[in-house]
């Protein structure tokens, strides 16, 4: 056969994966806290020095890791997130007005990403009704319960991280490192997936794919994963 039966998404490394990323773009980052974040891509964006980023991510990292790295270098001008604690530099920039912050309920954030990827421009949700989140938003009653209209997010770039991926961009996650990664994969116009293990096409069970390759435009094998733990909690050891 003169053609492959799949579409290869492999790029050489994180730097190559940034091709087309320009200043003042909206960029999504997968992860929850420091779990499942695209460590390699974040480092590469820091090195590239891309400025004016509007960042859509559930959290903002910590001072010296995750998106905290891009906050320190002032590459992020606006943060769209559900929870931004645990980051002093973030707090400083927000209070000083250097950083714009838009807080979105976590489920709404997840659904707005999915909606973007699924061609649903807007949907109604009960979350946030009666709170400041609902300010200026359309309210409608369904089943005697008020809901607000929320819109899909647009993002020219999404950076996500998976456990395993094949060359066609099919992805599998491990544990709770899945979190926002699948929906952001769907939402990104260009979705860059970094993976711990990059395997040949055909090695992954087609029944077990979490994100089909159609949602991934670029994939590379990440290196040097730190996978830092934010809250190390343990039980007493059994005797």
């Amino acid at each position: 056969m003169s053609h492959k039966n799949y579409i290869s998404k492999v790029v050489s490394d994180a730097h190559a994966a940034l091709d087309g990323l320009e200043d003042n773009m909206t960029v999504m980052f997968g992860g929850f806290g420091l779990c499942g974040i695209p460590e390699n891509s974040i480092a590469a964006i820091r090195d590239k020095g891309t400025k004016g980023i509007t960042c859509i991510s559930n959290n903002a990292g910590v001072d010296d890791f995750g998106l905290g790295l891009l906050l320190k270098t002032r590459q992020i001008v606006k943060m769209i997130a559900s929870y931004v604690g645990e980051n002093d530099e973030f707090e400083r920039q927000m209070l000083s007005g250097e950083l714009e912050v838009d807080l979105v309920p976590q489920g709404t954030l997840a659904e707005r990403c999915r909606a973007a990827g699924a061609g649903i421009p807007a949907f109604f949700t009960p979350a946030g009704y009666g709170t400041e989140v609902a300010k200026g938003k359309e309210v409608r009653i369904f089943n005697s319960k008020p809901h607000i209209l929320e819109y899909a997010f647009d993002a020219p770039f999404a950076f996500i991280k998976a456990w395993k991926g094949d060359k066609a961009g099919n992805l599998i996650f491990k544990g709770t490192a899945r979190n926002f990664n699948p929906m952001m994969a769907m939402a990104g116009k260009i979705t860059v997936a970094e993976v711990e293990e990059l395997v040949e096409v055909g090695e992954l069970d087609p029944n077990g794919i979490h994100v089909p390759g159609i949602f991934v435009q670029r994939i590379f094998k990440g290196i040097g994963y730190e996978k830092r733990i934010e809250q190390r909690t343990v039980s007493a050891k059994a005797e």
């Binding site: 806290g33 659904e111 009960p126 009704y129 544990g175 190390r232």
Partner: protein, 220 residues
């Protein structure tokens, strides 16, 4: 006197019904998992994407890819499943989770809750709290009856920015178990051992209905 944190959690655990999926917030709510009554089968959901959440791992078994919504390392029990945040909040918004237990800074006597923002202080964000309170059929608040300045946290209306409206169904504090009703406001159900009805009335700023005998909380 009054209940300590563990006792509040223990009392809330008495509300659990067999077969419920439960989401526990950070703080006192987390402790509820330690007090599941005999014969009651419960699965815990954490909104970052796990059902069947187990206890903290033993030392050396922590896995960075396995955390709860408080970013703490956890374990997964047999029968657990992992899923995306969109699916997780589909469970929550779609009312598949039968009970949500969370803390609060203020609750009003119509069930409004404020627990995410203090004007003038650093705002960390609502996380999943707004989705949880807007969706759950059954919300129990675990908190102290008064704040550090001794002021009631059970108000006629919340002074802090709201997390959700008319959603809290029950409150368990160090002093009392209180039902929240849309029409009659707070209804006193039980009082902590040794705590008088007068003390509860005094420390409850919102409407409080006291009707008939008010038994003491039993923790056995």
């Amino acid at each position: 006197m009054g209940l300590n944190k563990n006792q509040i959690a223990q009392r809330i655990a008495q509300e659990l019904k067999d077969g419920w999926y439960v989401n526990l917030g950070i703080g006192i709510p987390t402790l509820v998992a330690n007090h599941i009554p005999k014969g009651i089968n419960i699965e815990f959901q954490s909104e970052n994407g796990i059902l069947g959440m187990g206890p903290f791992p033993v030392e050396g078994k922590e896995d960075a890819d396995l955390i709860n919504a408080g970013k703490q390392t956890i374990t997964a029990l047999p029968g657990a499943s992992f899923f995306s945040s969109a699916t997780s909040f589909a469970m929550i918004r779609g009312q598949h989770v039968q009970l949500t237990v969370l803390g609060a800074m203020e609750v009003s006597d119509v069930g409004d809750i404020a627990n995410w923002k203090i004007p003038g202080k650093m705002v960390k964000g609502m996380g999943g709290a707004m989705d949880l309170v807007a969706s759950a059929d059954n919300i129990i608040v675990a908190m102290r009856h008064t704040n550090r300045r001794g002021e009631s946290k059970l108000l006629s209306s919340c002074s802090l920015p709201l997390t959700g409206v008319a959603c809290v169904k029950k409150i368990v504090t160090d002093l009392a178990v209180i039902k929240v009703t849309p029409n009659k406001g707070f209804v006193l159900l039980e009082r902590a051992p040794g705590v008088s009805i007068e003390e509860i009335q005094e420390k409850t700023a919102g409407r409080l209905l006291v009707e008939g005998d008010i038994p003491e909380i039993s923790l056995d």
